[in-house]
Subunit: 267 residues, 2 copies
């Protein structure tokens, strides 16, 4: 396979957390990144420096010769950008990275080749990540672009799966439960620990083991605690102790009820 | 310090997950375990074998010469057991391991020396655990027993904290959020992933990173996703996609609202 076929020249649109980590993975895989384009001047400059390429805050300055344009921007921003983005090089392959934007959001643009490259991970600039272990989910409008996108994705990660838009949204919702909502429960736990005059760190071994356990057991099998035992004495004493925190109390009640229902023997 | 002062002879009451791991830690620290007592004959036999001691299913057969009796039994069972347990050796030190049972549950017994040894971790027999990293929370009725219990607890773990009953219940509720409820969100995420025809394993890098991140950032700082951005378009599309799972939909709505409220700028 020639260099030209194996490596794709890329323009990266966006300078947030996804662009930060995806850009690094693309550069490390040897794909030339021709440019970073975004609205936030400081973030664009930093990311362009990280990727040893040039940055621009002007869509009009976008390099028109790339093989692949990857938009890692806010969900709200993408639909508005698509007509102008695709006009730059209607023959290129256009990709977005969003979990809940359907493939056909691209259909309002001028390009015929487009798709999705969705990385299932939580990214923050402070934290390095092993991108080769990040599951990537791919979808293209044209069947013939699927092989090309899959090859590109496999140069970034060892875990690449085809996934249509409807299933990708389900996966994104699953990620909201497993990351956003889980992190919020950590926050609620942190408040309670602070009320007990203890540092948040006392919870870390428990948080780690909770995550570790589902490597060995399914979550349904790993469930413990007063809700699954339906231990009303403990549940009621906890609800009373939460009287001063109605938000935490509502979450406690609803999740206790849902655990109880999900663990009923099916008739 | 003499062997007799340093090591405490122990009778362990209970043969569940806590007894399984706590018993092993006690034996490894060199404290002689004189007996395991419990209702479940098979579990008692297995745990006694693991701890190289004798087992009994009869309270009447309980060895009366131990220095410390540790009850690691269900919360509901303990109050009923206390009169008979403490009658065996009213001069010994009696401990329970429950997060939400107050210290004074022991006051209905015949012993004057009693306390609590609460390990903050989720235990299951299948999974080995580094007990020396498990935070232990201690409380005693008499001030003069506190030193003895603390010394004993420090022989099991490097993280020992004094904690009164009211604070211990708050900590237990925090653990319900950080473990039981978090694990249930994993279960809800697993159902969604299965609807997307994907294996649960695709979520593991995200689950791991979510837990890892709060070693470096407070949960409040680590929060990402549509709820904290108040991205109504994504939130509404997720709620529509969850129409066939009212349980998941209710959790999504409540946690989204609570994230939004907890991240409002305080006035």
């Amino acid at each position: 396979m020639s260099f030209a076929a194996k490596h794709q020249s890329v323009v990266l649109i966006g300078s947030g957390n996804v662009a930060w980590h995806l850009g690094r993975a693309i550069a490390r895989a040897g794909h030339p990144i021709l440019q970073v384009v975004g609205r936030n001047k400081q973030a664009v400059t930093e990311l362009a420096h990280r990727l040893q390429t040039v940055g621009s805050t002007q869509l009009e300055e976008m390099v028109p010769t790339a093989a692949v344009y990857i938009a890692a921007v806010k969900d709200d921003a993408l639909p508005l950008l698509i007509p102008r983005l695709t006009a730059v090089n209607p023959h290129a392959l256009f990709l977005h990275t969003a979990g809940s934007l359907p493939l056909d959001v691209w259909s309002q643009g001028q390009a015929a080749r487009y798709g999705v490259l969705y990385p299932l991970q939580t990214f923050s600039k402070q934290a390095d990540i092993d991108f080769s272990a990040v599951p990537l989910f791919v979808e293209t409008a044209r069947e013939e672009d699927m092989h090309r996108l899959t090859t590109f994705a496999r140069s970034l990660s060892s875990k690449v799966f085809p996934l249509d838009s409807e299933r990708r949204m389900k996966l994104h919702i699953a990620a909201v439960f497993a990351n956003n909502f889980t992190n919020h429960l950590y926050h609620r736990a942190a408040r309670l620990v602070s009320e007990a005059d203890l540092p948040f760190e006392v919870l870390l071994p428990l948080i780690d083991e909770t995550a570790d356990k589902v490597h060995r057991l399914l979550p349904h099998e790993a469930q413990t605690g007063p809700a699954v035992r339906n231990d009303r004495r403990v549940i009621d004493s906890h609800l009373r102790a939460l009287a001063s925190q109605p938000g935490a109390q509502r979450i406690y009640e609803l999740l206790t009820q849902d655990i109880h229902e999900q663990h009923q023997p099916r008739s």
